[in-house]
Amino acid sequence: MRKALVMIQAQQFSDIQLAELEALIRNTYRQHVSSEKLMVVWSELAAGQAYTNYAPSQTSIVSAECENGFPQEKRVAYLTELAREWSQITGQHLDSLMLALVDADQFKIIADSTLRRLSFVGRIKFGLHVAKNLLHSKLNNTPLRFSPDL
């Protein structure tokens, strides 16, 4: 299973928009990157917890993983379509959208950075935090979304 990590501001999008964006991420990934199952994880930052260019941020960040050595031409096609469709759904300016399609080995280093800096207790706490939200997502058939605060 591959993963996509999405960082947005809390209350930035409606539930309907979020569902549309998740479908967009999955569809563009399937079309341009891989037919492998994709786990999409939404992290929602509270006000005062995100800044861009010295000011409170409205930036959304989407990073997905791909196989190592993925062709650059296909990468550009995926990112371009995702950017265009995302801004149509949200009305966001493209300057407020950061996208990345990262080779698997490097993606693991980035994704694991959260766990690397935690104590043993912190890792357990983080695991429970994710598990609780994953269970909620499965039971309610909704996107996996949570605050990055523990």
């Binding site: 917890q49 995100a50 990468r75 300057d95 950075s113």
Partner: protein
Amino acid sequence: MPVYTLASRSASNKDTNQKIANKITDIHCETTGAPPEFVNVLFMDNHPLKGKAELSVTGNVRSGGNRNAELTDKLRNALMQGIAATAGLSNEQVAVELIGFPASWGMEGGEILPEPGEEEAWLKRAT
């Protein structure tokens, strides 16, 4: 890009976060020559961190171009010292990890990111 994520052992507050975000943006731009429009700083609260760290900083930055090991070390040390001074912590209480990846893997403003050192031409092209 870059995206700096700061995990703090306790709850953060907006005033301090703004000051730290300003300091990180200053340091990143002064050290690398990147424009401030690129710099994102995100805060996460109540993370039980390992060791003595009160703040743990992970920076996802573009690699290649003018970014050699010397510049990366300089950036890491400047961030540690600048964040510690701004947050009222000792240098030992601030952990900094920088993770680089190719600019060509990322997109902003609907365009593939420029190589480090080629931002000015990219910004002109994108406007």
